[in-house]
Amino acid sequence: MSSAAGSSRVTVVGAGLAGCEAAWQLASRGVEVALVEMKPLRRSPAHHVDDFAELVCSNSLRGASLGNAVGLLKEEMRRLGSLVVRAADATAVPAGRALAVDRRAFSEFITQAVNRHPRIEVRHEVVDRLPDAPLAVLATGPLTAPELADALREHCGQEHLYFYDAIAPTVYADSIDFDVAFRASRWEDAAAGAGDYLNLPLDRDEYEAFVDALLAADTVELHPFEAALYFEGCLPIEEMARRGRRTLAFGPMKPVGLVDPRSGRRPHAVVQLRQEDKHGVLYNLVGFQTKLRIGAQR
């Protein structure tokens, strides 16, 4: 298929994983690309080297098998000619059932490929507002520079740009014991339908045992740039527990407004689950964001 791109040029902002992939796919199809990257002029607190596609956290790209959705995603990318997956395959290190890479070799592979492509022009600049170019790709990542983040927030509205995620655990619906769980919404969730939440009641002993377990559990260490970032709307559950044994029972686990049909009484505490997907396969634990290590979460 001809590219017919004429003199159209695309500006890609950010030479991380997403930006390098976008730039590569465009250039491979005959489109001229201006890839704008602020390193080395400025680095986010998480970045330490000047290469593109720096892996700022672990060196693992997670599961390799098709039994795992991320393994499938990588296989799709492999078949599509993804630069990132080709780089990962070329720089893989033994990691059991995961695809892990030599971090430096991985970034060097991508940096060289991008630098050498005749249709990719790299520019080192800080982009501080939405690009004027008629065609552009914003790939500036979780630590987008503040000026650009502000420009986005101005465009989208204050409420539609987030700075923290609060990821609640999700469980498969078919692993929930429906003899114990009951459907109900709290009084103040009047706008919600009666069956919008599944509630798992806990009696006093179960609640106290849960708090004990939370207080004793291992947490993931914060990156230095994340330290002291908690704000009141988004406390991890173990931090709530640390502030007081009853904090959770007055917070995300409050039983107020709920009656356990098995006993006819209000439970001591509940874990509320909310349907996550439209097919009802997944339920998430409302308000249960946490920094507990995964083993501890089990």
Partner: protein, 152 residues
């Protein structure tokens, strides 16, 4: 919930990202700014692979625009398609990024009753995931051809 099986564990991160259901078109273009694609974690996915996958989709999108062609989005049955569906269908106002997982995929057709007419049981999770993967890769081939992917 003693025996509950986790699809995703909890976490909290410093993360800049948009309320995709509200602010992004299905093509990943910013609402109100056609031609401006938002990809990677900014669009509301979590993880290295997921970020690169959205970079791929955005790159293709920009290429289609540059060529004057209609968008060519990944089929819903693919993992790429499942990620995009999360960006469209997540809860606006309380939107959280996600890793790709099999819970995001459209369901498989229900199993046929057995030859004796008794209703079929449910698929085991591993079988189900294998079938989802096979279905995804079959759908992928069509899309790969449409976008001129090298292996097509």
């Amino acid at each position: 919930m003693r025996e509950a099986v986790f699809a995703r564990y909890g976490s909290v991160h410093r993360n800049t990202y948009l309320d995709a259901p509200r602010s992004l078109a299905p093509t990943l273009e910013l609402v109100g700014r056609p031609g401006l694609f938002v990809v990677g974690q900014m669009a509301g996915v979590e993880g290295y692979v997921e970020s690169a996958a959205l970079g791929f989709v955005g790159g293709i999108g920009a290429w289609r625009r540059a060529s004057g062609a209609a968008p060519a989005l990944p089929p819903a049955e693919t993992a790429h398609g499942a990620l995009l569906a999360h960006l469209r269908g997540g809860r606006s106002g309380d939107f959280q990024p996600t890793n790709v997982n099999y819970g995001l995929f459209p369901p498989l057709p229900p199993l046929e009753p057995g030859p004796d007419g008794r209703p079929a049981g449910k698929r085991r999770k591993r079988e189900k995931n294998e079938q989802l993967a096979r279905r995804a890769l079959a759908a992928l081939a069509t899309w790969a051809r449409e976008i001129g992917a090298p292996s097509s």
